[in-house]
């Protein structure tokens, strides 16, 4: 029963969603809206689960004085300090907003910018002509890069046209194929869940 219960709920939920989306009666009853609100509410509550795990994990680090336990102290102080501040001063004003803009936004920008550095070193490592496919991958990457930057057209007029063709024709054909396959794969997974064939997300071996 430990698994049958959630499985029945899962199947029922799937059927209700299909009914409320594809059938006019379901639409008229506005079931999807109610369902959506329940999901948003439960997702919000799940943040609490994450916060509890984070607290337990880092509190243990501090108590056991594991390596880098000082970082755990900083994390706990920041997490609960920010939470207290945000509860004290309503969101969208004051110190919480200043902290968000000065630290979160800046740190996120910095980390995203770091992607470029990693792409750079990854390209240096990965674009080796080990095979014909690898050579083609490297060549297309270089053509596209030059096409995106003004230097391509400055070196050879019309270079960006070649890039556009690569993106619009071979790239799009491939992407559409992959996307159709991925959507169908997701659909088959959904059917497996509805039929109770796929149960790994309920814990254990799944079948």
């Amino acid at each position: 029963m430990r698994k049958q219960g959630p499985m029945i709920i899962c199947t029922l939920a799937g059927l209700i969603l299909i009914f409320s989306r594809y059938f006019q009666v379901g639409r008229d009853l506005g079931m999807l809206t109610t369902w959506d609100r329940w999901f948003m509410l439960s997702s919000g509550m799940a943040i609490g689960v994450g916060a509890i795990n984070l607290t337990i994990l880092h509190a243990k680090n501090v108590m056991r004085r594991t390596q880098y336990w000082q970082s755990s102290v900083i994390l706990l102080v920041c997490m609960y300090g920010y939470m207290a501040l945000a509860i004290h001063q309503t969101t969208g004003a004051g110190i919480p907003l200043w902290i968000f803009q000065s630290f979160m936004v800046t740190a996120n920008s910095t980390l995203f910018s770091m992607v470029v550095f990693f792409i750079f070193s990854a390209a240096f490592r990965a674009f080796r002509i080990r095979s014909r496919e690898a050579a083609l991958l490297g060549l297309v990457a270089i053509i596209t890069m030059f096409g995106v930057a003004p230097i391509g057209d400055a070196l050879i007029p019309g270079w960006s046209g070649l890039k556009d063709w690569l993106l619009d024709v071979p790239n799009m054909a491939g992407f559409r194929g992959i996307q159709i396959g991925a959507y169908l794969g997701a659909f088959a997974t959904a059917i497996r869940i509805l039929l109770g064939l796929e149960r790994a997300h309920m814990g254990g071996g799944g079948r």
């Binding site: 996307q179 659909f187 997300h201």
Partner: protein, 268 residues
């Protein structure tokens, strides 16, 4: 002729009726193949997926080196089909790590996914007969923010230096940083995603990559059960349906001389 806003056949929502018909056609194909499998009729085998076969090799390598395995079930939430597909592989991986007695670190961005991942791993350790080896501290919720999560993972990679890293699910720009950091510490890396804009990086930088519908087929591939394989074959029949529709669309657009014809009007 379909009348706008009037239910089709009196019951179906008009705007999603074509989508419903197509979904129903694929669903019928899947059911048919499941029934075939149940009746014992022959079902085509799924082709070899090197990325899945390499899981055992990667975990074996970690065991030999005495280093942990790192698993990421993607950054998507629980509604994401890629995340759901990831749990089947997580279950397989955790059973292997339990039987090889090697540490499995699973890092999560989504709190709901974290809770499920913990349960999946706990159950696998239980089924493998090693409940004592399961360490709940190794299943970690890092942060809900994409790059805070990423920074946390990179820090963990540098400190714990896992010998194998498995990225299975939905990823965005952070995957590049995580994969490259994995390469820097010498991890064997297996990546799987259906997120199209991350696929090129997975192909170029991971040792093994599973792309698009391959990642969804993994649970059937691992189970080796004819019924599960039947669902994948049914999904392939869906591809044939799409192929026929595309071919029809191309022919009709060529004949009519524009995209304004019965097929596109019906599908819209």
């Amino acid at each position: 002729m379909l009348v706008a806003d009037q239910p089709v056949l009196g019951i179906f929502a008009r705007d999603l009726f074509p989508a419903f018909v197509l979904a129903a056609a694929v669903a019928v194909a899947v059911f048919f193949m499941i029934q075939r499998a149940r009746s014992g009729a022959s079902i085509p085998l799924i082709r070899r997926l090197p990325g899945i076969e390499a899981l055992e090799e990667a975990i074996g390598r970690s065991t030999e080196m005495g280093k942990p395995v790192h698993y990421i079930p993607g950054l998507g939430d629980i509604r994401d089909p890629m995340t759901i597909a990831s749990f089947a592989v997580l279950s397989f991986v955790s059973r292997l790590t339990a039987s090889y007695d090697v540490r499995l670190i699973c890092t999560n961005r989504n709190p709901v996914v974290y809770a499920i991942a913990e349960e999946v791993i706990r159950q696998s350790y239980l089924e493998a007969g090693r409940p004592d080896s399961f360490n709940p501290d190794d299943v970690r919720f890092m942060s809900d923010a994409q790059f805070a999560y990423c920074a946390n993972v990179v820090g963990m990679l540098v400190r714990e230096r896992p010998a194998a890293q498995i990225l299975y699910g939905n990823f965005w720009a952070e995957s590049m940083i995580i994969i490259e950091q994995g390469a820097l510490i010498g991890s064997i890396q297996i990546g799987a995603t259906a997120q199209v804009h991350q696929m090129p990086w997975f192909v170029a930088c991971c040792d093994y990559a599973l792309l698009g519908d391959e990642m969804y087929a993994a649970s059937a591939y691992l189970s080796k059960e004819p019924v599960m394989t039947g669902t994948v074959v049914g999904q392939d029949i869906g591809k044939y349906i799409c192929f026929v529709l595309i071919l029809l669309g191309v022919i009709m657009s060529t004949v009519v001389g524009s995209n304004d014809h019965f097929l596109t009007r019906w599908l819209q």
